[in-house]
């Protein structure tokens, strides 16, 4: 039997054809330029820069980050320069990069979500939108929309009308039934769902008796949450027909393969980018090697091969 030399890693999410199923998660990859020294950005399946709001946001007071066993709690608070500054000062960087740019965005109100989707729709060079309805670190908006299936459905329906771009909805794990929310946004017209965002979490300093984070509560990410993320991706994959993008504590190719096996079409690398900027590239290589070893022609064949 001839070994498979060049397995096909490409996947399709909505109208986006990715050269491989590995993207970098919003909030862990800056605006992309921070990683230029370390990796060839062209090799990535897609880049999702830091989340953008209509107006600039200053973020939460420090300390914003705290390390736990196998995890990181952050409370950055979606600090970002806002739509206008992003378009003028960050977007031009992507002109010469040959990979897909997916914009993560969020609003404080329903109107802001719709307005932003409309405005990004008119910007050339953007392949798709990832709508954040799941940030645990801001008071308004964010997770409020993602925790109620009905509200999520209505919001997606309206944003859907505002843009022709591929629309991915990023889901929160801080809900009773994530598959229900996923089903609702599918019905609302989403092209794909990405999950999971971080778990609401906190840590206390027993000497000062104060919280370790300026915002008291933050979001937990990293390998500590991987088993829960995997379970959620499996549950969602069984309930929706649209592609599922899995994430949560992926540190190496084997983790990513687990997510794909239980039904994810693609994956995102998050916290691992901070620790090892080369992670996404290593995951791409690892998936390819796995496919060769297991004589699988196409990564899409892997999706759902899980045998419960």
């Amino acid at each position: 039997v001839n070994p498979i030399r060049n397995p096909d890693l490409s996947v399709k999410i909505g109208n986006i054809k990715l050269k491989n199923p590995v993207m970098v998660a919003s909030g862990t990859f800056g605006f992309g330029e921070e990683y230029e020294d370390f990796i060839d950005l062209n090799q990535l399946g897609a880049i999702i820069p830091k989340g953008i709001s209509l107006k600039p946001m200053i973020g939460n007071p420090p300390p914003r980050i705290f390390e736990t066993e196998g995890g990181i709690i952050n409370s950055i608070g979606l600090q970002n320069p806002g739509f206008q500054d992003f378009i003028e000062n960050k977007l031009p960087f992507y002109k010469n990069i040959k990979t897909h740019l997916i914009i993560n965005f969020f609003g404080n109100t329903r109107r802001e979500y719709i307005q932003l989707a409309k405005r990004f729709d008119e910007v050339p060079g953007i392949s798709g939108l990832e709508m954040n309805i799941s940030c645990p670190n801001v008071k308004r908006g964010g997770m409020v929309f993602g925790s109620d299936p009905k509200m999520a459905y209505q919001l997606v329906r309206e944003v859907r009308k505002a843009t022709k771009l591929t629309l991915i909805i990023k889901l929160s794990p801080n809900v009773t039934d994530i598959a229900w929310v996923a089903k609702s946004v599918e019905e609302g017209g989403a092209d794909a769902v990405s999950l999971i965002n971080t778990f609401r979490a906190m840590a206390v300093n027993i000497h000062s008796k104060k919280p370790e984070l300026g915002n008291i509560v933050g979001g937990l990410s990293g390998p500590a949450i991987k088993p829960i993320a995997l379970r959620m991706v499996w549950e969602v994959s069984r309930r929706v027909k649209i592609p599922v993008i899995g994430m949560g504590g992926i540190m190496k190719a084997e983790d990513a393969i687990e997510f794909i096996l239980v039904g994810a079409s693609a994956v995102q690398i998050g916290s691992a980018n901070l620790v090892n900027p080369r992670t996404a590239i290593e995951v791409i290589d690892g998936i390819e090697k796995y496919l060769i070893k297991n004589r699988i022609n196409h990564v899409q064949e892997l999706s759902g091969l899980f045998k419960p």
């Binding site: 390390e67 901070l274 900027p277």
Partner: protein
């Protein structure tokens, strides 16, 4: 340009209780790193701890350094304080250590040909990053204030003593060496007697309480004060925005210690 690369442990010696001197052979970074810049070090091969640790460099030797043994080496002086530095104490000769660097913006030197009095104020292990300035300042006369909790926390004293024309002042909180009190108290008591120049350049690094106190006492014009800040860092290269510090600039209320810093002008920071 920063790079991610493996260095090799040459030596890792305990020099005092809780303090260790780590020598890593890593010519790519040793050749490039500037005074006040830092590196991010992966201290474990697994996720315990998960994040890298930031370290300023005590000494670095270029690849063409006259002493062959030192060429391409970086020296890190660290204190065993937690899980990360505990792991580091276990580093043996020959171990590979993954590093990212050089990172951040370092100290800037007084503009030529001005000749201000140069004052270094270091608290605890903070003095280490100031020592890296010495190589750049040349033969300039220095006033060096070194502070610590006890005499065991006084570092680099001998290094500074070797420098011709520098005056050294030592303060310990328990009085076990030099002046009894904080290094800032000692600086205040000596300040009027220092040097002749009308202008002063102060470089400082140490615990946040020390820097707060410094901000309280250094207000006069004609004083440039650069401080190197410590912060919990996620990545170290500007991607996560986890290490921010509050500034007085309403346009940029939070700046990254790892990217815009770690060296800031004292007056630009909000010391709450």
């Amino acid at each position: 340009m920063a790079l991610q690369t493996d260095g090799i442990v040459v030596k890792n010696d305990r020099i005092k209780p809780f303090y260790f001197l780590l020598t890593i052979y890593c010519p790519q970074i040793a050749n490039e790193i500037e005074t006040g810049q830092f590196i991010m070090l992966k201290v474990s091969d697994n996720h315990s701890p998960i994040l890298r640790r930031p370290f300023s460099v005590y000494r670095s030797y270029s690849v063409d350094h006259p002493e062959r043994k030192k060429r391409g080496c970086l020296l890190i002086l660290y204190k065993k304080v937690g899980k990360g530095t505990q792991k580091m104490t276990e580093f043996k000769k020959g171990r590979k250590v993954n590093m990212i660097g050089p990172l951040g913006n370092g100290f800037s030197l007084p503009p030529f040909p001005s000749s201000p009095d140069i004052i270094l104020i270091g608290g605890g292990v903070g003095i280490v990053s100031l020592y890296s300035l010495v190589q750049r300042l040349g033969s300039h006369e220095l006033f060096v204030f070194i502070g610590g909790k006890t005499k065991n926390d006084i570092l680099c004293e001998k290094d500074f003593k070797k420098l011709i024309g520098s005056k050294i002042f030592i303060a310990t909180e328990d009085g076990s060496l030099g002046y009894k009190g904080t290094v800032i108290d000692l600086f205040l008591s000596q300040r009027k007697r220092l040097g002749r120049s009308k202008s002063q350049y102060i470089y400082s690094c140490g615990p946040v309480d020390m820097l707060k106190e410094l901000a309280r006492v250094v207000k006069s014009k004609g004083v440039v004060c650069q401080v190197s800040l410590e912060a919990r860092m996620g990545c170290g290269f500007g991607a996560c925005w986890g290490c921010v510090v509050k500034t007085n600039d309403p346009k940029k209320p939070y700046e990254r210690v790892c990217k815009e810093g770690p060296v800031f002008n004292l007056k630009d920071i909000v010391w709450e």
